[in-house]
């Protein structure tokens, strides 16, 4: 098992507040790793810290055998990490096409192929190509955000709660897509929706109060009702 991303004893602050105390986990190549935990446990902060949007005050973030902690966000992105933030970060005044074009570092054959592939998964994006991103529905925004992170040849995608605020049928669709993308890339997913997490995740880490407290294979978690109740409030 070769790990693409590895966080060791990571600590982080937001202003004066100590949010991450001790985060340790590895993301193996080619798998979907899921971060679970209650609201406010520090999952989103973990993703932001990996992305360089929040400084690492202690510990290390190693990506492809290189310490990327405290690099500028654009350098981290250029190492091959795509990011889908919790609020999707769609540029509201830009059309669907323009949103994707901002992201495309090259407009070569390969990028075009990736674009075509993802657009086949999300035909809505093709349909609303000239519509401003701000006018899309929640599900469409989510798909645009995922497509935008995917269109460059990234080795790792960080996806923050893709099911948030979406109707169950749309969640289904997003889940299918992520399952398909899994064939092509490695994914680190933050997800509250346990059903979705358990269907697409290979491996999980539970974050509680800024610490990784438990991990294992997704299959094991499904059996362990006590653990789920304790940390996730799922019964």
């Amino acid at each position: 098992m070769s790990s693409l991303l590895k966080l060791s004893q990571v600590e982080a602050y937001i202003q004066q507040f100590h949010i991450l105390h001790d985060i340790n986990f590895e993301v193996p190549k080619g798998e979907v790793t899921v971060l679970l935990g209650r609201n406010g446990a520090g999952k989103t902060t973990t993703l932001r810290t990996i992305m360089g949007l929040n400084p690492v005050s202690k510990g290390s973030v190693v990506f492809k055998n290189e310490d990327i902690s405290n690099l500028k966000p654009h350098l981290i992105a250029n190492k091959g990490i795509g990011y889908v933030p919790e609020d999707q970060g769609i540029f509201g005044d830009l059309t669907v096409g323009e949103n994707l074009r901002v992201a495309m570092k090259r407009e070569d054959q390969e990028t075009t192929e990736r674009l075509d592939w993802i657009l086949d998964l999300f035909p809505d994006l093709k349909k609303f190509w000239k519509k401003p991103g701000g006018q899309l529905s929640g599900g469409q925004k989510q798909m645009l955000a995922i497509a935008r992170a995917y269109v460059n040849e990234n080795d790792l995608l960080l996806i923050d709660e893709p099911s948030k605020g979406l109707a169950p049928i749309v969640v289904e669709k997003v889940m299918e897509t992520i399952l398909q993308m899994k064939e092509k890339t490695t994914i680190l997913l933050v997800e509250q929706n346990f059903l979705m997490a358990s269907k697409i995740g290979d491996r999980f880490y539970i974050i509680d109060d800024g610490q990784t407290v438990h991990n294992g294979l997704m299959g094991e978690l499904k059996q362990d009702k006590a653990l789920m109740k304790k940390y996730l409030g799922v019964s």
Partner: protein
């Protein structure tokens, strides 16, 4: 009829100059949330550097080029030395850029002398056209043409090119742009320099228009630029065009019909806008 046409041309010409000044400022604010009160200093340096070359070489074209270069260089210096240390802090930005404004203004007096300078348009732009009853002054038409051309160029760049899309995306959500692998600081520096060059260009074009330049114009035009940016909606490029033309026309008509109030007209428009539509005429969507 001829009166109204002539006032309109006046107003449009003034508006275009103000637009060139305000366009950079609004993008700088939109992109990095930077409040730059030294913008008028770039305007006045463009005016003096250009006019000096114009005196020496008698070439207005060369004057324009020198003004633009001055703007680019001063823009780079301002961004590096003055803005960088205070990123993210509005209060400090307002304070420090205001201080820098004063320094720029005084340095004008050191470099070019404290007296005001008279400037005439070049021979090829002097005089006027007669269309029926309406007399159209060439230099004003020239300013309007340049203003519209630049507006269109920048508009198309923002609309059609990837760099333009990046700038617009950065105005909406600069964090997200970074996570797409784009160095926003670099983009910002480029925008800052272009904005400074536009302000300097506005300065050199303004010189023959008003016929006279003096150092204190720096602070006056800093304030004017801000007023226009607030009216147009902070961060909105198109908004800055409409606000600039509105202010230009209002000034021209007020100066004729209610001269007592012409000095106050900018302030009046801004007050009304702040009271009824504090986000400005054009709101930038996040």
């Amino acid at each position: 009829m001829d009166l109204i046409a002539s006032l309109t041309v006046n107003g449009l010409a003034t508006g275009m100059l103000i637009f060139l000044l305000a366009a950079g400022l609004t993008l700088i604010f939109g992109l990095m949330s930077v409040l730059n009160f030294a913008h008028g200093g770039l305007f006045i340096w463009g005016a003096y550097a250009g006019v000096w070359i114009y005196y020496v070489t008698n070439s207005f074209l060369l004057a324009i080029i020198v003004a633009i270069v001055t703007g680019l260089v001063l823009g780079l210096i301002t961004e590096r030395l003055i803005i960088r240390p205070v990123y993210g802090n509005h209060i400090q930005q307002i304070l420090i850029t205001l201080g820098f404004m004063l320094v720029l203004q005084e340095l004008i007096k050191v470099a070019f002398g404290p007296d005001q300078k008279a400037v005439h348009p070049p021979a090829w732009l002097e005089g006027s056209f007669q269309m029926g009853d309406v007399i159209l002054i060439k230099y004003r038409l020239f300013i309007i043409a340049i203003g519209f051309l630049l507006f269109l160029t920048i508009y198309l760049i923002l609309k059609k090119t990837r760099i333009g899309l990046i700038v617009r995306a950065g105005v909406m959500d600069r964090e997200m742009v970074q996570t797409l692998g784009i160095n926003i600081r670099f983009v910002f520096m480029a925008v800052f320099m272009v904005g400074a060059a536009l302000a300097a260009l506005s300065g050199v074009l303004h010189a023959p228009y008003s016929g006279v330049i003096y150092a204190e114009m720096g602070l006056e035009f800093s304030i004017l630029a801000f007023i226009v940016v607030v009216i147009g909606g902070m961060g909105s490029f198109t908004g800055s065009l409409f606000a600039a033309i509105l202010v230009g026309l209002a000034q021209a008509f007020m100066a004729y019909y209610v001269p007592a109030l012409s000095l106050a007209v900018n302030m009046l428009i801004m007050t009304v806008v702040l009271i009824f539509r504090p986000q400005g005429l054009f709101k930038v969507k996040g």
